[in-house]
């Protein structure tokens, strides 16, 4: 049921700019009839309908239910055939904060627009002859990204734990649905088995879906940002790495105190994640009272941080971590960086990331690891390792959550079982899109193995 259709006729949207806070964000929309459909949400709808292709228009995007303006926007329109996808398209330039973008997404969904699968815009471009179809290799690439989404392939990317958890929930729902389908597929007097409404199974599934949804930290991550601390002894190259991290993005450096014995804070972005970056005083025993105060602050910062980059000088022969550094290195939120690889004579510690902050060699890998760690959800959460990461996962889990709630409500309102089954199927469809489809054969299999049926 959850197979992706490769259907080119509905209207899709996606954020074209990076997912994060920025001055301006761009949302791309493609599909036949999209201009007319969008005009119904636009304050200057008449202007938009009459406008020529490749023109830009100012107006407000209006929530069709509340009639309230959601954002001020600029809309570029592309008439049929004259866009990237070869379809009628729009580009919405809106304010670039996450909450505002999500509000616009909500309005678009209300209008029947669908969130695009990765690669789907390019796929449409292929289908409409906008990209050279004979480039078989490129086709395969796109096709692969298509299939990834629709089906379980995408799920290989899922954390094993999350995959298992979703499967467990799915089994609960299948169990519940089997009890209902049993009653729909066999006559009342043909079943002697206990067939109570599977309220507990549904409630259990719902509870787990809800707690999984609670782990969705990415919203928090992107709106509140996170703290990354550079720690390590003096002269290991922390400041060089600090500057390197700032050089990558447009950043604002604001020195808190001018002394190197205190710390420096800078604001920057990594892959759209707002980051407060701290360059700290070296960790070591010191008798200097000012330095001691700096070290105390450093320890405080490390405690409150989301991620620690422990920088060591790998060029020093026989370098050893101090006892405090050793403890820090074992913490989950710590990445050990072996700096100064450009000096040769390198002793890279196990599990650490080699880097030359000077030549930027190894920086790309390190940066990817930093982003990966941050996106994994904050280690400050309740400590459970299973978290959901993507907006798509959240969306599907929300769908499952709503459907399960409906099924319980309908039971309370004594609606017939065939209607309740629609909701449970909806929940399975949503869960199935995250961890593989459930077919009617699976349900029947469950019935035949758990119930003694048949005259």
């Amino acid at each position: 049921m959850s197979r992706y259709t490769y259907d080119n006729n509905d209207i899709i949207y996606a954020l074209a700019s990076a997912w994060g806070n920025s001055p301006i964000a761009v949302i791309r929309v493609s599909g036949d009839g999209s201009i007319k459909k969008f005009s119904e949400l636009f304050s200057a709808s008449e202007t938009l309908l009459k406008a020529f292709s490749h023109t830009i228009h100012y107006g407000k995007i209006i929530d069709p239910d509340s009639k309230e303006a959601v954002d001020e926007i600029l809309v570029a329109i592309f008439r049929d055939g004259r866009s990237y996808t070869g379809q009628e398209s729009l580009e919405i330039n809106c304010h670039g904060n996450i909450i505002g973008i999500e509000a616009i997404f909500k309005v678009l969904e209300k209008q029947g627009f669908r969130s695009a699968y990765p690669g789907e815009f390019t796929f449409r471009a292929f289908m409409n002859g906008k990209v050279d179809l004979t480039q078989a290799e490129a086709v395969m690439e796109i096709v692969n990204s298509q299939s990834e989404i629709a089906h379980s392939l995408a799920l290989k990317r899922l954390e094993g734990n999350l995959f298992n958890l979703i499967n467990e929930i799915k089994i609960k729902v299948v169990d519940a649905l089997a009890v209902i389908e049993l009653q729909l597929d066999y006559e009342e007097d043909e079943i002697i088995d206990e067939t109570h409404f599977p309220k507990e199974a549904i409630e259990g599934a719902l509870k787990r879906v809800e707690s999984l949804l609670d782990t969705y930290t990415i919203g928090r991550l992107y709106s509140e940002g996170c703290r990354v601390v550079l720690a390590g002894s003096t002269n290991t190259g922390k400041s060089t790495l600090f500057n390197l991290l700032l050089k990558e993005e447009r950043s604002i450096v604001s020195e808190i105190h001018g002394t190197t014995r205190d710390y420096i804070e800078a604001k920057t972005h990594l892959e759209g994640i707002p980051i407060s970056l701290y360059d700290t005083a070296g960790l070591r025993d010191s008798k200097d009272s000012i330095e001691q105060e700096g070290i105390r602050r450093t320890r405080g910062l490390i405690k409150e941080s989301d991620l620690v980059l422990l920088v060591v000088d790998s060029s020093i022969d026989g370098y050893k971590l101090s006892p405090e550094e050793q403890i820090l290195a074992k913490e989950e939120k710590t990445i050990v960086v072996c700096n100064k690889t450009d000096l040769g004579n390198v002793a890279v510690l196990e599990g650490s990331y080699p880097l030359s902050a000077k030549t930027a060699e190894g920086f790309k890998t390190l940066k990817e690891e930093i982003v990966k760690r941050l996106q994994k959800g904050s280690p400050k959460t309740d400590g459970s390792t299973v978290v959901i990461e993507s907006a798509r996962q959240k969306k599907e889990l929300n769908r499952a959550c709503e459907a399960l709630k409906h099924s319980l409500e309908y039971f309370k309102e004594t609606l017939p079982l065939d209607i309740i089954a629609v909701e449970l199927n909806e929940a399975l469809d949503a869960l199935g899109s995250l961890s593989g489809e459930v077919t009617s054969e699976d349900i029947l299999e469950n019935i035949f193995s758990n119930f003694c049926v048949g005259k």
Binding site: M1, R3, Y4, T5, Y6, D7, N9, F123, F126, M127, G129, L133, A136, V139, M140, V143, N144, Q146, S147, A150, H151, L153, E181, Q183, L184, D185, Y186, E187, E188, D189, E190, I192, E413, T414, L415, P416, L417, D418, I419, A421, V422, E423, N425, E426, D429, S440, I443, L444, F448, C452, V453, G454, K455
Partner: protein, 605 residues
């Protein structure tokens, strides 16, 4: 050519296939092993049931016969699952077995263009190239030619029955199997497999103690399966319920060694949804009792059918365990229960038209395709007959979709996924279940039946009037206000029924009961139907992208090896069907779509 069409077999599939062919103007010969066995109800004496009742009404809506046969021969009628929701309610009727058979035979005999002949088909006549059927060869040596052949052999092709250690080449007890045809099909190159099913003992009514059982009467009002038969006036008989007990189970367990199933004599796969009593005892050892429905086989017979305890244990064991059941202590067994194993054709070898891919003009339907149930067989027979006739007229085949009928679901499942156990229809197999209520079969299918040529102008006119009335009721409900609310909104509330509204809107009382019910359901379910359709919608769009049957998969770069093999073998008629084939990946479908759309743009096929 001797005939336009030959139909092999005169069971529930053969009846529908031959009537459809003859009614559409083709001279049609039915070859059956025994004219006295036309339309026999080999197993339970009932027609309809959940999902199956919907199928019977679909057959009627398309112009088939089954509904008329049961309407004229029923001895009990019930609407099942009244409490569980209208989408899964269905009619079921107990049949008078003898009358059913007799009426079936009379109907065939009365049909213009239809000829009946008793003999056994043992081989097919093929053209020189060996890729097209041209007739049949019979046991007595007749070579009969025809343009199309529909095969409906049921359990008879190389059939074998088992009772304990007794084995006999039969399709039903006392009736010889059809030997030879299975081997011929294997020789031609068809993939032929074995399936198994079973039936319980029949006992004598006057030997039973009904005081020890619970009576199960039918509904007071008998309704017709056919949209033409409004109300049925027929004598009605009760069924009775009793239970097995621990003693019964002990006897069965102790004598399991007499079972041909557990002894390994039977190789065919049996149905999991309808297990034998020995299966139930083994698989559910914690259960202390199993239900038995004691059902009359007809008005003029003492035979009673013991529904729920089909078995192939030795006869003395059958007698012992039956006698351990309350009410059956003195039961005289008139016919023993038995298992039957038979040849079936893997239905993946068929197009959705039910024509075989290997042999042109050769159609297969019914239990031969791996299904079980009279209704499943009949509707396939009807579709095979219709499509054989359409082929003779050079018209496109009739392929019903998964969204408009159980028949569409049935055939799509068979030809797309195949089956390795007897396939029974369940409502849960249908994604569009809410749209496939039994009372809307005429709205869904009668226009198609008319287009095919089996439904008359008058049938269509009747349907039109019904639709108009439904519109009037809908309008009435939308326009009338009750208090400040629209009547239709009031009716949407779960605790309000249309009966409550008749008081407020007296003009509703002028309409037939069935139309009011239908309007109520349409209204109450509209929101949920929408939701269900959204779930199933993705599917629909791909259904419409047709793949030409000549499409060559071998040259397509990027298809997975398994996908290529499966697509080449199954030859799906649409991208939708292709997407349901196991082993075909989403990336295969995407590549296929790119190629199909490129073909269109280049102007090629």
């Amino acid at each position: 050519m001797d005939y336009d069409a030959i139909v092999i077999g005169a069971g529930h599939a053969g009846i529908e296939a031959s009537l459809a062919l003859a009614r559409l103007g083709n001279t049609t010969l039915v070859v059956t092993q025994n004219l006295d066995a036309i339309g026999r109800l080999s197993c339970n004496p009932a027609v309809g049931g959940l999902a199956k009742g919907n199928i019977v009404r679909e057959i009627d809506a398309l112009g088939g016969e089954m509904a008329h046969l049961i309407d004229s021969t029923m001895i009990q009628f019930r609407i099942l699952n009244r409490r569980r929701g209208p989408a899964v309610q269905a009619p079921r009727a107990q049949a008078d077995k003898f009358s059913y058979h007799r009426l079936a035979k009379e109907t065939l005999e009365a049909q213009k263009n239809l000829y009946l002949f008793q003999d056994t088909v043992v081989d097919l006549l093929l053209n020189k190239e060996g890729n097209k059927v041209e007739g049949v060869i019979t046991q007595r040596g007749h070579k009969i030619s025809s343009k199309v052949v529909v095969m409906t052999t049921g359990t008879f092709m190389e059939g074998k029955i088992f009772i304990g250690s007794f084995v006999s080449a039969s399709g039903r007890i006392g009736e010889p199997a059809a030997i030879g045809l299975g081997s011929s099909l294997r020789r031609i190159g068809f993939e032929v497999g074995r399936l198994k099913t079973g039936t319980p003992a029949r006992v004598r009514k006057s030997s039973l103690n009904f005081d020890a059982m619970t009576e199960q009467p039918g509904d007071e009002v008998m309704l017709g399966f056919s949209f033409r038969d409004k109300k049925i006036e027929r004598p009605t008989l009760s069924c009775w319920v009793t239970y097995t007990n621990e003693k019964t189970h002990k006897i069965i367990e102790d004598n399991m060694d007499t079972s041909p199933l557990y002894g390994g004599l039977i190789v065919g796969q049996g149905p999991r949804y309808c297990p034998s009593i020995e299966d139930k005892v083994v698989r559910f050892p914690d259960r202390l009792r199993h239900q038995i429905f004691v059902e009359p086989e007809g008005l003029g017979t003492e035979e009673m059918y013991l529904n729920g305890i089909s078995t192939s244990l030795a006869e003395d064991v059958q007698e012992a365990f039956i006698h351990s059941v309350r009410g059956l202590e003195e039961a005289q067994i008139m016919r023993p229960g038995y298992a039957v194993e038979y040849d079936y054709l893997n239905p993946l070898q068929l197009y959705p038209s039910l024509e075989t891919k290997k042999l042109a003009n050769f159609y297969v339907s019914g239990q031969t395709n791996g299904t079980s149930g009279y209704e499943e067989a009949a509707t396939q027979g009807l579709i095979a007959g219709i499509n054989a006739s359409l082929k003779l007229q050079n018209r496109e085949p009739l392929i019903l979709s998964r969204s408009d009928s159980y028949t569409g679901v049935l055939i799509d499942d068979l030809v797309t996924k195949g089956t390795n156990e007897p396939y029974r229809m369940f409502t849960s197999r249908a994604e569009h279940r809410l749209n496939m209520r039994h009372d809307t079969a005429d709205l869904r299918l009668t226009p198609i039946g008319y287009d095919v040529g089996l439904k008359s102008e008058q049938d269509l006119e009747t349907l039109k009037q019904k639709v108009e009335k439904l519109d009037v009721i809908k309008e009435l409900l939308n326009k009338t206000k009750i208090g400040s609310k629209k009547a239709s909104d009031v009716l949407r509330q779960p605790d309000v029924s249309i009966d409550d509204l008749i008081v407020e809107i007296p003009s509703l009382g002028e309409f037939e009961r069935s139309l009011l019910n239908q309007s109520e359901l349409d209204l109450k379910y509209s929101g949920y139907v929408e939701r269900q359709n959204r779930q199933a919608q993705k599917l629909n769009k791909m259904e419409k992208i047709v793949i030409p049957s000549s499409f060559d998969y071998s040259g397509i770069v990027g298809l997975s090896t398994e996908g290529k093999q499966k697509l080449t073998a199954i030859k799906p008629h649409s991208v939708g069907q292709a997407s349901r084939i196991s082993g075909v990946r989403n990336s295969d479908i995407a590549i296929l779509m790119v190629h199909l759309s490129r073909g269109k743009k280049d102007g090629g096929a």
